[in-house]
Symmetry: C2
Subunit: 226 residues, 2 copies
C-alpha cells in the first residue's frame, strides 16, 4: 500500500510548515490554529511538525518572521519619506494578515526579521540627519499601533549572555547586521548610567508630544475640511 496510490508527498521543511500555518491563520484565525490541525492539513501526524519547529511559540514566531521578511524593501532615501514607506509596508502586512498583530504582541523574543525591520526604520531617520537621541524617541512614539510590533523590544534584557566572550561576539554581530539600532542603543547607554532607557520618561515624552500637537491644531481652529 504505502506511497503509491497517492503521489508521494514532498518531505516537509520549515518553510513549508510556516507557509501552511500562515495560510491557515489567514483563513480561520490564530485561535483555530493548533499543532494538531496544522499537522492534519499537511497530511502528517502532529509530532512530525516538531522536527521543523521547536514548539508552538517557535511556530508563531516563524509565521511572524515569514510575513515581515516579505515587506517591501523601501528606497533608502532617508528621512520621513522612507519612514512612511516602511511603515506602510508594516501596515499592509497587518491588514493582509489579521492575526499578525496578536501574534506579534504575544511574542517577547526579538527575531532577526523583527530586528531588521526596526533597523531599517531607524536607518531611515539617521540617514535623514536625525540624531540618535531623537531617532530613539521617534521610534518609541511611532509605537506599537503604527509599527506592528512592540518598541519595548528595545528595552528588554537581551536574554542573559552565557559568557563574556560570547557576549562580545554577539555585540559584534549585532553591530554588523543591525548597525542603526546598535548605534542608538549605544548612544542611549552612553547617556544613561544604567544603560536602559526610562519607560516613564518615554511615556511622558510621547504623551506630551501628542497633546501639544493637538493643542496646536485646536488653537489654530483646525477643521476636517482642510
Amino acid at each position: 500500500m504505502s506511497a503509491q496510490g497517492e503521489t508521494r508527498r514532498a518531505p516537509l521543511d520549515r518553510a513549508r510548515v510556516l507557509a501552511a500555518a500562515v495560510a491557515a491563520a489567514d483563513r480561520s484565525g490564530l485561535d483555530a490554529l493548533s499543532m494538531r490541525s496544522l499537522a492534519a492539513e499537511l497530511g502528517v501526524v502532529p509530532m512530525a511538525l516538531y522536527k521543523h519547529v521547536a514548539d508552538k511559540d517557535d511556530l508563531v514566531g516563524g509565521m511572524v518572521d515569514t510575513v515581515i521578511a516579505g515587506y517591501d524593501p523601501a528606497d533608502a532615501v532617508g528621512g520621513p519619506a522612507e519612514v512612511r514607506a516602511r511603515i506602510r509596508s508594516a501596515r499592509a502586512g497587518l491588514l493582509a494578515h489579521p492575526w499578525l498583530r496578536t501574534a506579534i504582541e504575544s511574542r517577547t523574543r526579538r527575531t532577526p526579521a523583527v530586528l531588521a525591520h526596526m533597523d531599517a526604520v531607524a536607518g531611515a531617520f539617521l540617514r535623514g540627519g536625525y540624531s540618535a537621541d531623537l531617532t530613539h524617541h521617534a521610534m518609541h512614539a511611532l509605537g506599537h499601533r503604527i509599527w506592528g510590533f512592540s518598541p519595548e523590544a528595545f528595552e528588554e534584557p537581551p536574554a542573559e549572555p552565557p559568557s563574556p566572550a560570547e557576549r562580545e561576539a554577539m555585540l559584534r554581530t549585532m553591530a554588523e547586521r543591525f548597525p542603526h539600532i546598535t548605534a542608538i542603543a549605544m548612544d542611549t547607554a552612553a547617556r544613561t548610567p544604567s544603560g536602559t532607557c526610562e519607560p516613564e520618561g518615554e511615556f511622558d515624552f510621547t504623551l506630551d508630544l501628542l497633546l501639544d500637537a493637538f493643542e496646536r491644531l485646536h488653537a489654530a481652529g483646525w477643521t476636517s475640511s482642510a
Copy 2:
C-alpha cells in the same frame, strides 16, 4: 464531616470570583490562569464558577472591568490637564497589572467600564473646547499604547441590534450613560455617509501628525538636554 472542621466558606459571588482571578493573574500571569486553577484556589469544583461567569471570555472581561472601574476619578477641569490625569490612571493600571494589556487586546466587546473610560477622556477634550471632530482624531491618535485599550472599539459594529425598537432604546441609554462618545459618533456619522470612519484616513492622520512633530523637533535642533 462536611462543613464543620472548616469554617463554612462564604458563598461565591461574581465580585469574589473576579477579585481572585485578578490576584491570581497578578501573581502568575494570564497564561497560568485557568478555570480549573482558579476554582482550585477558591476551594471549589471548576463548574461552580459557571454560576457567576458565563465562560472564560466573560471572566477575562470582568477582570478588565474590575481594574478599569478602580481608575482614579480625575477632576473634570477639561482640556489636556484632565486628559493627562486620566491617561495616567490607565497607565498606572497597566503597570500594576502586567496581564491587563494582553487581556484588553484579546477582547472585542466594549464593556460598560471601557465605554465609561472612553467617555471620560472624550469629555475632557470636549469640555476643553475641542470640536467633536478634533476630539475624534485625538482619541485615535492617543491610541492603544497610551490608552491601554483599543480605540478601534469606536469602529466595530455594535453587535447587530435585534429590533428597531431595541436599537432605539440602546441608542437612548448610550446617549444617557456615555454622552460624549455618543456625540462624537453622531458627529462622525453626520459627516461620513457610511457612518463609520475610514481606518486608513485615521492611520494617515496620526502618522503625519507624528512625523511632522518630529520633523519640527529635528529642524529646531532638539536635544535631550532640554
